[in-house]
């Protein structure tokens, strides 16, 4: 046997870094197309009349949401797990050929599933449930991918050297369990072909739930997809990467534990805020609102913990673009978790629901928090997995400002558009006749839709810079020694 020193093995992490970037580009490119379609309807015919079926807004919208959620974000979660997991448990994937093989299998199956999703969504095959559009055969594949990931999490934990599970690991476990539970329950469906004895296509299905129950399960799922996809795993990332990159241990470990349980406890009950003024029981709506407001506490608990971690080290924010990304991410996290509860108050929701303000809220959360944090994670990981310096620091800085401007244009335009829309829909004269017709709002909103599209385009350009920077890091970055990788990431000019 050769006697090489034990090292972490990032093979699977690298594979998922790759899909994070590729699917990020796909998802956001489609997002930008959608944004331009809303401002300029001609864009629906992007590739001509003949292909309009595949390029229209309704066909592309689920492709956008699913590519950014299940493609980009979930890949980012897997990539960072296969990096952080080994490190905080102090055990290498190389020590377990079985876990390594399962990790690669998970990746392969994941890619196959993504391909099936893209094809089926473009073909218009969907269950029509938001964020749960996939038909049952794809759902089964997704469950297998997820179970393989779970085996890996618990497998690594089983052979760990570090006795205590670092707070990030808790968050990853919660992500795994939370999504498993939500996904299974919400996607329960009856395959119509088999149930009816051969009517229709074999891959079609109808939900097991109906009416109000369906709405309830759907938004219990939808809201917690935000919780366990856009919040919990991203918090896992920042709890590791910010302390590591800045060389400062997390400000208060106790607060991190407390916010963890607080988040778990409160999030699951807040989904009712998506169904205010609908047919679900009144007390459920009220509780949804109340829990949404309470949710500020555990959310801010984590975010403030991150900001305090930088105590006495604020000069790092100025000098390191990587820290900038993370601090901006946690600031946007605070911002969207303040905005959300405000929108969950019934009287505010009466104006905000169905308007662009919600879309604005979604994107200050995902663009400012989720994507920023995932990009920061990959920037931190790149020098360590490729053993090379980050290619260009100045490009990172430029990217940071371009994307920050993009997010600001996106959410400010959507705020104005949303509130204008909400007010115009409600306006009426003294006899109760509506003051405006729908097309009046469309005309008024046009400039804001254009601004949103430009903001989105800027953000996409920034994402291309990110992809290019990582590619260059991988191929031509200066090679670095282990001792340069202790805390702050090495960056070239």
């Amino acid at each position: 046997m050769e006697n090489r020193p034990l090292e972490y093995d990032y093979t699977v992490a690298k594979l998922f870094m790759f899909t994070t970037i590729v699917l990020g580009i796909v998802g956001m490119l489609v997002g930008v197309i959608l944004a331009f379609q809303l401002a300029f309807p001609e864009v629906n015919l992007l590739l001509g009349e003949g292909l309009a079926e595949y390029t229209n807004f309704s066909r592309l919208r689920p492709l956008h949401t699913d590519a950014v959620i299940f493609g980009f974000t979930v890949s980012g979660i897997f990539a960072t797990w296969y990096y952080i997991g080994q490190r905080v448990l102090k055990v290498s994937m190389a020590e377990s050929p079985l876990l390594m093989a399962l990790g690669k299998l998970q990746f392969t199956l994941y890619v196959v599933t993504v391909a099936a999703v893209v094809v089926s969504l473009l073909a218009g095959v969907t269950t029509s449930k938001e964020y749960a559009e996939f038909e049952w055969p794809i759902d089964i594949a997704i469950v297998v991918v997820w179970v393989l990931w779970g085996i890996n999490i618990f497998g690594l934990i089983g052979i760990r050297r570090e006795k205590s599970l670092y707070i990030s690991v808790w968050y990853y476990i919660a992500t795994f369990l939370g999504v498993a539970m939500l996904y299974l329950f919400n996607n329960m469906a009856v395959p119509t072909y088999f149930a009816s004895g051969g009517i229709g296509d074999w891959y079609h299905s109808v939900s097991m739930y109906a009416g109000t129950n369906d709405a309830l399960v759907q938004w219990w799922y939808g809201h917690n997809a935000v919780a366990f996809g856009f919040t919990v795993p991203i918090v896992a990332m920042i709890y590791y990467f910010l302390p590591k990159e800045s060389g400062q241990a997390v400000y208060s470990y106790k607060l991190s534990l407390l916010s963890f349980w607080g988040l778990m406890f409160v999030y699951l009950w807040a989904g009712g805020h998506h169904l205010l003024f609908s047919t679900v029981p009144d007390w459920m709506q009220t509780m949804g609102s109340v829990f949404s407001v309470v949710l500020i506490l555990p959310s801010w608990g984590s975010a403030i913990n991150m900001l305090l971690t930088m105590k006495g080290e604020w000069q790092q924010v100025a000098s390191s673009p990587l820290i900038k990304f993370m601090i901006l991410a946690s600031t946007f996290y605070m911002f969207s978790t303040l905005e959300g509860p405000i929108q969950a108050i019934k009287s505010v929701n009466a104006i905000a629901h169905f308007t662009d303000w919600i879309v604005g809220h979604v994107h200050d959360g995902v663009l400012g928090w989720v994507v920023f944090m995932i990009m920061a994670s990959l920037f931190h990981m790149a020098p360590r997995v490729f053993k090379r310096e980050i290619y260009s620091k100045s490009m990172m800085n430029t990217q940071f400002w371009i994307q920050t401007l993009g997010v600001i244009l996106y959410f400010t335009s959507m705020w104005i558009a949303g509130i204008t829309q909400g007010m115009m829909w409600r306006a009426h004269d003294e006899f109760g006749n509506l003051a405006y017709s729908f097309i009046d709002t469309v005309t008024v909103l046009h400039p804001y839709y254009t601004i949103r599209a430009i903001g989105g385009l800027l953000y996409l350009i920034g994402f291309f810079m990110f992809a290019y920077n990582i590619y260059k890091t991988m191929t031509v970055g200066r090679r670095v020694e282990e001792n340069e990788l202790q805390t702050a990431s090495p960056m070239g000019a």
């Binding site: 020193p5 490190r87 102090k90 050297r161 570090e162 205590s164 470990y253 106790k254 407390l258 007390w283």
Partner: protein, 72 residues
């Protein structure tokens, strides 16, 4: 009382119970640290000293723990 009302009461009391548990947990965290049973803050170092060759903040096996204590 119909089922919806029952659910609402159930929901309320479950919530109250969980709030109680959560506050209990806060108390547990701070009191076990005050009594010196556990130092939670040291776990923050797990992220900082995370090379595979670094010494774990807390060793996994009991035996190692004891040898550590003897060394100290």
């Amino acid at each position: 009382m119909d089922i919806a009302e029952l659910q609402a009461y159930g929901y309320f009391f479950l919530t109250a119970f969980l709030v109680f548990v959560l506050y209990g947990y806060i108390y547990h965290l701070y009191s076990s640290e005050r009594k010196g049973k556990r130092d939670y803050e040291k776990y923050g170092n797990i992220a900082l000293n995370d090379e595979v060759t670094d010494k774990p903040v807390e060793e996994i096996s009991k035996k190692d723990d004891e040898t550590l204590k003897k060394e100290a």
